[in-house]
């Protein structure tokens, strides 16, 4: 089973109150040096069968019509590589 990830972010010109709230909180938490924060959605789809161009096209369509609200959001679709989640040094 392959995993396809759809990331949905607000378009750059659209206000992102969520990201802004995080950013405003950073100084209070003692974090400096982060110029901007945007918050979006991440969808992980577990796809049965091969993730070929046709499958990707369908997922793209799904993202466009359903997962993202393209009036205000952009999205990207990608197949997740085997070893994805490289955690930062703890």
């Amino acid at each position: 089973m392959a995993r396809v990830v759809v990331d949905v972010m607000l378009k750059p010109e659209i206000l992102d109150p969520q990201g802004q709230a995080v950013q405003r909180a950073l100084p209070r938490l003692g974090f400096e040096g982060i110029a901007d924060v945007r918050q979006g959605k991440r969808f992980e789809l577990e796809v049965e069968g091969p993730v070929d161009a046709a499958a990707l096209r369908r997922i793209h369509e799904l993202a466009e019509t359903f997962l993202a609200n393209t009036v205000i959001e952009d999205f990207t679709v990608r197949v997740e590589e085997p070893a994805v989640s490289e955690e930062a040094p703890a």
Partner: protein, 764 residues
Amino acid sequence: MTSQSLDTVEHAERTPGTELPWAELGLKEDEYARIREILGRRPTGAELAMYSVMWSEHCSYKSSKVHLRQFGEKAPTEGPGAEAMLVGIGEQAGVVDVGQGYAVTFKVESHNHPSYVEPYQGAATGIGGIVRDIIAMGARPVAVMDPLRFGAADHPDTRRVLPGVVAGIGGYGNCLGLPNIGGEVVFDACYQGNPLVNALCVGVMKHEDIHLAKAAGTGNKVVLYGARTGGDGIGGASILASETFDAAADGDSGTGRPSKRPAVQVGDPFQEKLLIECTLEAFHAGLVVGIQDLGAAGLSCATSELASNGSGGMRVELDDVPLRDSSLSPEEILMSESQERMCAVVEPGNVERFLEICEKWEVTATVVGEVTDGDRLEIFWHGEKIVDVDPRTVAHEGPVYERPYARPDWQDALQADDPGRLPRPADGKELRAAALALLSSPNQAGKSWITDQYDRYVLGETVLAQPEDSGMIRIDEESGLGVAVATDGNGRYAKLDPYEGARLALAEAYRNVAATGARPLAVTDCLNFGSPEDPAAMWQFAESCRGLADGCRELGTPVTGGNVSLYNQTGEAAIHPTPVVGVLGVIDDVTRRTPMAFADEGHLIYLLGETAEELGGSAWSQVAHDHLGGRPPRVDLERERLLGEILIAASRDGMADAAHDLSDGGLIQALAESCLKGGKGARIVVPDGTDPFVFLFSESQGRALVAIPRSEEVRFTDMCAARGMPAERIGVVDGEELDIQGQFTLPLTELREAHERTLPELFG
């Protein structure tokens, strides 16, 4: 933008031949010519931006103005409503005196087009906008309401629009901490491409706190506070709401016209909550000379209106406006409709304290200009003057149109198509089926799937909320002083007769307020119509204005403010003319309110008013036959006033334990609602000589149900008799079923199931 390409006033003077994109900005040729004439030169890009948004239909009311005048001209000059008026039409919102030193401000506004494009954010920012109007008056917002209209309930696009709109209203209002105390939900195919999202806000203040939007006092500072300005919604609400909305023209339609789809605005309710607190604190500290919210047309509107209402001029440094996006051009900054911003005029000595209050609430605030002693509004960018106008010409002297209007040629045929010819239920069994079909139809079904998404408890002052006849808020804990508000509108009635339709909307809202025991005092309205360029739609608009103005004079309830939404039309298909009327009433002691529920076994059920066969535009004709034709029910506002007096007296003197007005769906609807709310059944007798179908389904006006304890019966009937109000005892609160004797019975469980299952099944 480099300084060479900056279109300064000086540059405009030197280059009279430069073509500007006035048509794309929605201006007509003669309007552009007038701007040139006013300025004595061509406008700069920034000036053109300001004029175009401020002269749009949405901001200038250019098509509606000549008709709206009647609300002032015909306003009642005596009676409680007239005496209570403190601030009338023309300000952000009207203000009425409710006694004990309190004043209440309320207003309803539309956010129709944005809510179709992006339901959640469109509706959310609709709440945001109306709330800012109320704070700008100096009042603390205390409640919101949401009259809504959607396309057919089972249409796929309604599944997109309705849940988003409801979640948006809830998301924003709940987060602001404003109880939602009522509204409407109507489905009709005519709203398919043009849903109506109206939002009402009520605010309370002490008389001395009333503030008006004006910039007086040379040297006073103009402070912009709230959210940073971004590129969202540039010219959005104003331009979009000012032309026929053509869903097919979204994006590039190849016509070379710019897309009418605006960058949608995203609301930040937390920012708005901060704005409320910070504004009210600044008011109470006495730091505010004038104030204005930034709504449609953003800074263009705020600066020109503030300056225009004041005595002097204004100078604004656009470079000082805090931006979210540093690449914005000055025109864009002037047109941006970024939400959650306000503009205050503050004396220089108070600026520091004002900024401190903003800091306390973590609200960005910046001095962006000052009041000057001239009479010009001058705006600078990078040290160069890009706007130099007489603010009155922008804000108040926009074009005024006498649009042609004509009674449509189909109106006679429509009125002649009387529902009297439609087949009716013939016996008890058929009546029962008709009742269930009616009560479970989307328009007549319970709305709790929607209203349960709204916080009605927050602030702890909600005495009545949905599904009661009106919302009621306590405003003084000691004395129990309170206000009640109801909104109503019936587009089907108005389509049959727009003059009567407006009066019917008024009558119903008035009746709903009186049913709870409050004395109706004042009116706000949201007039939702089709294109003013269509003579038929314009006629509907003119008739409705005339009807509402006449009705308000008759009932002694002045119109204190409102909103017009035109161009609710897709191609040739306009919505039903939909005047939505909000009535505000006062109650001296909220513990005396009359709820709608049948709560006590043995109480006697009286029907007040007279029932005739009136089925034109009725819910029955829609549900049973998908029929719209004939004449709407007759309105007699004198009778409405009398009914109101009876209901108010019954509440004041503790005679009625429950009251519920009759409106769409008629008696059967009202009985079902009162039974379900109280969890008690009723035994009802059809009066002799009355056709049971007419008795149950007719929509005659001026009627209400009351539940009277036996001990009060004589006193109550005596009062009705003395005042000439027909009152017929039709039954008693009893048992577990609604029993229409000799016709049919409906167990409450079956009734509840039928009434409450519809919306969850459609949208859940």
